[in-house]
Symmetry: C2
Subunit: 265 residues, 2 copies
């Protein structure tokens, strides 16, 4: 990286560079984006479902979740976001927001006018490509979550979540894979995993009892990554992080097999 002006938007630059190589002018333009920085209190909403937002929001520090609420009162957290994440592009580009975005804990965020972003994407194709890929990878993560919710039991879901968390935090430079702090309560974890907080608690305990992880409050240490990945049926391919991921576990091999309804006429 060459020398660039100091900007609060660096975390976003860092993230987008994962998806496409950016030239110096690209990077300068990105960091030059007009923006207003705001501090958000815990649980504060960034976007409300049903509203139209004229800005787009980049997380600079802290965490936020997207979620929807069902008629029965149940809440489903769709994704968890960390520093560098562009949190509501879809909500801005579509007519109305189809889900909420809410801060978890204290959050520092930069608000950027949507037009500035679309203009940037148009003027700097490489940046546009990076943002495009960003949303595609996000879609890939949604799809894996669908598999997680639909076809894995509580233990596997929880293990899978821990693996994903570890890798994403590591990729964002916020922690190392083997040890990190969960940014969410067990209740929130339940809302992500489609479980109750009670059952999340029991499941975490069970993973601990088996010596796979170690927990002290929200500090998590992963003692046996391979076993965690295996019980979580975790194959990092869907994160599209490139080769920089650990050895494949047994589950990974299964993904490739051709034996699923193998009846091509």
């Amino acid at each position: 990286m060459s020398i660039l002006p100091l900007s609060p938007l660096t975390p976003m630059l860092r993230k987008l560079q994962r998806w496409a190589a950016l030239s110096d002018p690209d990077r300068a333009a990105l960091l030059d984006l007009p923006h207003k920085i705001r501090h958000l209190a815990p649980n504060q909403f960034i976007v409300h479902e049903g509203e139209k937002a004229g800005y787009s929001c980049v997380l600079l520090s802290g965490f936020a979740v997207r979620h929807k609420v069902a008629g029965n009162g149940g809440r489903q957290i769709l994704s968890l976001h960390m520093a560098g994440d562009l949190v509501d592009l879809q909500n801005s580009l579509l007519d109305v927001a189809d889900h909420n975005v809410q801060a978890i804990g204290r959050v520092e965020a930069a608000y950027i006018p949507v037009e500035a972003i679309t203009a940037l994407a148009a003027d700097h194709p490489a940046v546009g490509r990076a943002m495009w890929r960003e949303t595609l990878v996000e879609g890939s993560i949604f799809r894996e979550s669908l598999l997680n919710l639909g076809r894995r039991d509580a233990r596997a879901r929880t293990a899978h979540f821990l693996c994903e968390m570890a890798l994403r935090l590591e990729a964002a430079g916020l922690a190392v894979r083997e040890r990190f702090e969960l940014p969410v309560t067990q209740e929130q974890m339940g809302d992500m995993l489609g479980l109750t907080s009670v059952h999340v608690n029991r499941t975490l305990q069970s993973l601990g009892a088996d010596g796979i992880i170690d927990r002290r409050q929200r500090d998590v240490a992963i003692h046996d990554w391979d076993r965690l990945a295996k019980t979580g049926d975790f194959d990092p391919a869907y994160l599209h992080l490139g080769g920089a991921v650990p050895a494949q576990t047994g589950a990974a091999a299964l993904y490739g097999r051709e034996t699923v309804r193998p009846d091509a006429a």
Copy 2:
């Protein structure tokens, strides 16, 4: 619509026009896309997870699903596609496919080189915008599925699925909302809804017994749309179809409320 050359790609044009207004040159260029038409047998794979595809595939007739398989053998169908749908853009644009695409029943499809599509998007910004919004809406549907799988019981999930099916088939001009043919087996429905085929069967029967729907084989008639939407907690907003959707049910009102963890400090 003005007169345009007859092309097998018309279903795709029809769909993309939902998302952005296209000029005559835009439309002509779209229909002029180089392509090769192929007929696929039931259950034939269009894309395999882990592979790199150099083409992108548009459905002209029939149905296809995207799915992933878990290590325990369970399969999760991520989405169901119909005529006009661009079925594997993400798979083509990312490094490797993160999920499978498979025909359901006989399918007619057009294969288009990815470069032709990206070139079209670059030369005709309106087309690019339409494709961009298409993937955003697709993301919105994924998010609603997440809510469905994570936070609704079998009965609500099934009802929700039927509502979505009805509206999407109608929007594609393939059926009317009140009566259509399910393009999938109950086993496949189970794989979409995270249920077993046995339970799907019982749930459909229960909806029938309550007089909400009427079934004869795979033919479904919806007798009481409002009640179906209510039991499915169905609010069509996430489909982003515009105003052309039916009266809101009770559930819709709940979505907007502000009572969810209403603690902004």
